[in-house]
């Protein structure tokens, strides 16, 4: 591991291109409407000046877009992807799920103190860029430090790093408190939070982990014939529409919340302002604890539903006396 100090991240990214460590970059650029940032794939390094490497593109998790890019095969040349830690986790989870071909991709990830107006960021306790090829560290530091295994034509400098840990612990402490507070609020009325759902399924469509071509909960399997609707209505004391709201959320949660990286794009796009991501944190945390699994970390850790242990989870087996 080597450390370098840089003053300006954009210059550093240009430098990566100059040194041919990457030939292309994916990073947030002002979109054509000039109103928002979107991830762009660029080959021309002059475009870096117009970018905002550390901003969050509203409603978009870059990893999801990268998965489309490599779906038909690896990129033919080295491409750097600038990611936030939550996007990096999604990126790594998607490698496990065979949705991203990591060949020729160089991950560049910053530490991240969150973004304004994103409640999920306030409760984020995983904001350090573990597992990135190029880590950009700034919390608690003047300027930026680069931590990487790559050979760069820069002067090594690991001067002032001890502040990082202190700063991180400070932020962590604060975020933990936020998280606990938020979660206890959320958990107290979880069911009610979903009441306003209009079943647009936007949350699923932007989710990096929901990579299915067709969501099971959108599929014809759940469409009934008219007789069944009437039967259901009488069984349930009235059938409320849009139907299957709870089924969609709980079912989706059951499918993928173990892999949920808490990036928060789902709640950003929710027209009904449901804190979807926070709800996923509430349930996902329990599951992650249950299976001792951290999504988007080590590629060796298997996704809980693809493995098992012989001797486990006996609390879920009903004892017979």
């Amino acid at each position: 591991m080597k450390y370098y100090k840089v003053e300006n991240v954009k210059d550093f990214l240009k430098n990566l291109m100059d040194e041919k460590i990457v030939e292309a970059l994916i990073l947030p650029l002002k979109s054509y409407t000039e109103e928002a940032y979107n991830p762009f794939l660029i080959k021309d390094k002059s475009l870096i000046d117009k970018s905002e490497p550390f901003t969050f593109c509203k409603g978009i998790n870059t990893a999801r877009e990268v998965s489309k890019l490599t779906f038909k095969g690896a990129l033919p040349f080295k491409t750097g992807i600038v990611l936030k830690p939550c996007e990096l986790r999604a990126f790594r989870e998607l490698i496990k799920l065979n949705q991203i071909n990591p060949e020729n991709l160089v991950t560049i990830c910053c530490d991240c103190n969150g973004f304004e107006d994103r409640e999920i960021c306030e409760m984020c306790v995983d904001f350090v860029p573990d597992y990135a090829d190029v880590k950009i560290l700034s919390l608690g530091l003047e300027g930026y430090y680069i931590e990487t295994d790559l050979e760069l034509q820069l002067e090594e400098n690991s001067g002032n790093l001890e502040n990082i840990e202190k700063e991180i612990l400070k932020i962590l402490d604060e975020k933990r408190k936020n998280r606990d507070k938020k979660l206890s609020e959320i958990k107290s009325n979880l069911k009610d939070l979903l009441k306003n759902c209009i079943s647009c399924h936007n949350c699923m469509r932007v989710c990096p982990i929901c990579f299915c071509q067709e969501c099971f909960f959108d599929s014809p399997a759940l469409k009934n014939d008219s007789v069944t609707y009437l039967m259901r209505a009488s069984r349930k004391n009235g059938l409320d529409f849009p139907e299957n709201k709870l089924l969609f959320h709980l079912g989706r949660m059951n499918h993928m919340s173990v892999s949920c990286v808490n990036c928060g794009v789902c709640e950003e796009v929710c027209p009904a302002q449901i804190p979807v991501s926070q709800i996923f944190v509430a349930a996902g945390d329990e599951l992650k604890k249950l299976f001792n699994y951290q999504p988007g970390k080590s590629l060796e850790d298997k996704i809980p539903f693809t493995c098992y242990q012989h001797d486990e989870l006996h609390d879920f087996e009903k004892e017979y006396k």
């Binding site: 759940l222 069984r235 349930k236 089924l247 509430a282 539903f305 012989h310």
Partner: protein, 133 residues
């Protein structure tokens, strides 16, 4: 008319169903409101079905498959246990009564165990009352 719980008993086609057949062979009785549904393996039971049944007003869902280590397909019940653990955890987090879903292994010859389970579960659900979803 007194209320009778709507209970679906999902069983695998091997030990679970074997238990049902042993029960019949021994002439053991259980309540009629418990309706069996068969999958090949509990490992082939999508929790989405259970979830949907639960949200569609099933008062209880009972699941039985081969004992761990005895799965007809070797490993299905281990995966089933994980899937159900996840589902039950989610239900619990949402404040639903996850104890309306039971997983209990029943061996091929264990007709009595199957019947005891059905009776015990029925009593348990009666105590809980109807599933007001």
């Amino acid at each position: 008319m007194t209320w009778e719980p709507k209970i679906v008993y999902i069983m695998c086609s091997w030990c679970g169903s074997g238990g049902a057949e042993s029960a019949s062979a021994y002439g053991l009785k259980y309540p009629e409101n418990i309706k069996p549904f068969r999958v090949w393996c509990t490992g082939g039971l999508d929790p989405a079905y259970i979830l949907r049944a639960f949200l569609e007003g099933a008062d209880g869902i009972l699941i039985s498959g081969c004992h761990p280590g005895d799965c007809h397909y070797d490993t299905g019940n281990y995966f089933a246990r994980r899937r159900l653990a996840a589902l039950k955890t989610i239900l619990k987090t949402f404040g639903f009564d996850e104890d309306r879903v039971w997983l209990r292994w029943v061996g091929h010859s264990e007709g009595k165990r199957l019947v005891d389970t059905a009776i015990e579960f029925n009593e348990h659900i009666k105590k809980l009352g109807p599933n007001k979803i």
